[in-house]
């Protein structure tokens, strides 16, 4: 009874097919009464669902309960994270521990140094920037200087990094200056100016240009990225907001300049 192409027709309807596949599916539907009927029904179900069976919004008391529960759990987690008293070691243990620990650290340092020597390809560069952004979000080390005032944020970078990134507050345009930090991308320091757009965070990475090609704009693991060069500085903007919103933000940064 069921057409063998029914699931493909459905995938077409759900916007899951790429260009070529979608074309083929359209052709099939045009000649298949069963798939046409399926589409009609599915579309009417969709419109009924969207116009009549609205999403339930969380009642205010749920929002309150959740926030309270998280605040309580946060206190518990903080207590667990507090540094435990250092384990006592015998003298011999200290000697060997120190020796082996030393080897471990220098081995690691050597590995990092080797990694830093190899110039990153544009793709790994783009990946590292997303990783630096998400790591900063996860670790809570997003902001080392918190201020919405560019007279506070811009001078903070002086003496910490050998470049001065452009810093402007675009709160009027919806992008609020929130602070800054120093991060490392591929072993090199980068100044990061942090903005907020509603619930979205935007990291603006700025580093000294070394003539390397810039990655193409794109989405990686749900984050959008844009790259450009301006003068002798390289820029990357990364955020989980929509690509066109990020483009608006970048446009503001680029046109405002220093």
């Amino acid at each position: 009874m069921d057409c063998v192409e029914l699931l493909t027709t459905q995938a077409f309807l759900d916007g899951e097919l790429a260009n070529g596949e979608a074309k083929a599916a359209e052709l099939h539907i045009a000649g298949c009464a069963e798939c046409q009927a399926f589409c009609e029904d599915a579309v009417s179900i969709r419109s009924d669902l969207r116009s009549y069976a609205q999403r339930y919004a969380a009642p205010d008391r749920v929002k309150l309960r959740v926030r309270e529960a998280i605040a309580a759990a946060d206190v518990d987690l903080a207590a667990k994270d507090a540094p435990a008293p250092a384990p006592r070691r015998g003298r011999l243990g200290t000697f060997f521990g120190g020796f082996l620990g030393g080897v471990g650290v220098s081995g690691l340092a050597a590995a990092l140094w080797l990694l830093a020597l190899a110039p990153p390809t544009p793709a790994t560069m783009a990946d590292r920037i997303v990783r630096a952004h998400t790591q900063a979000l996860i670790s809570g080390n997003m902001i080392q200087v918190a201020s919405g005032d560019h007279h506070t944020v811009k001078p903070w970078f002086a003496g910490k990094i050998d470049l001065s990134p452009p810093v402007h507050d675009f709160a009027a345009e919806g992008f609020k200056l929130t602070g800054g930090r120093i991060d490392r991308i591929a072993g090199r320091p980068a100044a990061v100016v942090v903005y907020q757009h509603g619930f979205h965070w935007i990291d603006l990475f700025v580093w000294a240009d070394r003539g390397e090609p810039m990655p193409a704009a794109g989405a990686r693991r749900g984050y959008n990225e844009l790259f450009w060069k301006q003068g002798d500085l390289d820029f990357a903007a990364v955020s989980d907001m929509q690509a066109d919103e990020l483009a608006n933000f970048v446009d503001l940064v680029r046109t405002t300049g220093e």
Binding site: L6, L7, Q10, A11, D14, E16, F38, D41, A42, I45, R46, D48, L49, R50, Y52, A53, Q54, R55, Y56, A57, A58, P59, R61, V62, K63, R65, V66, R67, A69, I70, A71, A73, D74, L77, A78, V130, R131, T134, L137, I138, S139, G140, N141, M142, F199, W201, R220, R221, G222, Y223, D240
Partner: protein, 175 residues
């Protein structure tokens, strides 16, 4: 406030409505939905370190779905009578001039909600994730812990069931 909490609130709380909507449709009970969402948000908060660059929403929805399953399968659970499209639920009908059209709209809403609520849970789940939460097949597969092929066949089945019910009700002159 700790940075961890700050970050979590900024990234996860915007999806609280989506989490509640899913819990509400899965459990078909407002009180269960409240408890499930609270459990899920706590679980998510404790596991937040494990979330890497992934999208927060499907990750959170998966936790909501698992919390609901745990609760549903608890042996001595008190069973609420489901209220398919009953009194509860924000019926966001504006006070407008055309009262009759509004009443029809409200009764149509109850009917559609009752039909979805009557779907078996596995089908209801994929339908809500697809049509209300706009998740892709891949994301639904992640949330429900099933292969993409199963997502597709369940969705098709959910749609066929709804359509059959629609036709049956029309024949009984309920329309």
């Amino acid at each position: 406030m700790s940075d961890r909490r700050d970050t979590f609130e900024a990234r996860a709380l915007p999806h609280l409505d989506a989490a509640y909507n899913l819990a509400r449709w899965l459990s078909r009970s407002p009180s269960d939905a409240e408890d499930v969402v609270q459990d899920a948000m706590l679980r998510a908060f404790r596991a937040f370190d494990q979330l890497r660059g992934e999208d927060v929403r499907p990750w959170l929805m998966r936790i909501v779905r698992n919390c609901w399953r745990d609760r549903r399968d608890r042996p001595h659970r008190r069973h609420d009578v489901p209220l398919p499209g009953g009194r509860e639920g924000p019926e966001l009908v504006d006070e407008g001039p055309d009262a009759e059209a509004q009443a029809m709209r409200a009764s149509e809403g109850r009917r559609v909600r009752a039909m979805i609520a009557a779907l078996p849970e596995a089908f209801r789940e994929v339908l809500i994730l697809r049509e209300m939460e706009d998740l892709s097949y891949r994301e639904i597969a992640e949330v429900s812990g099933i292969p993409i092929g199963t997502v597709m066949s369940r969705l098709a089945r959910a749609r066929a069931l709804l359509k059959d019910q629609w036709v049956a009700e029309d024949q009984h002159g309920l329309r």
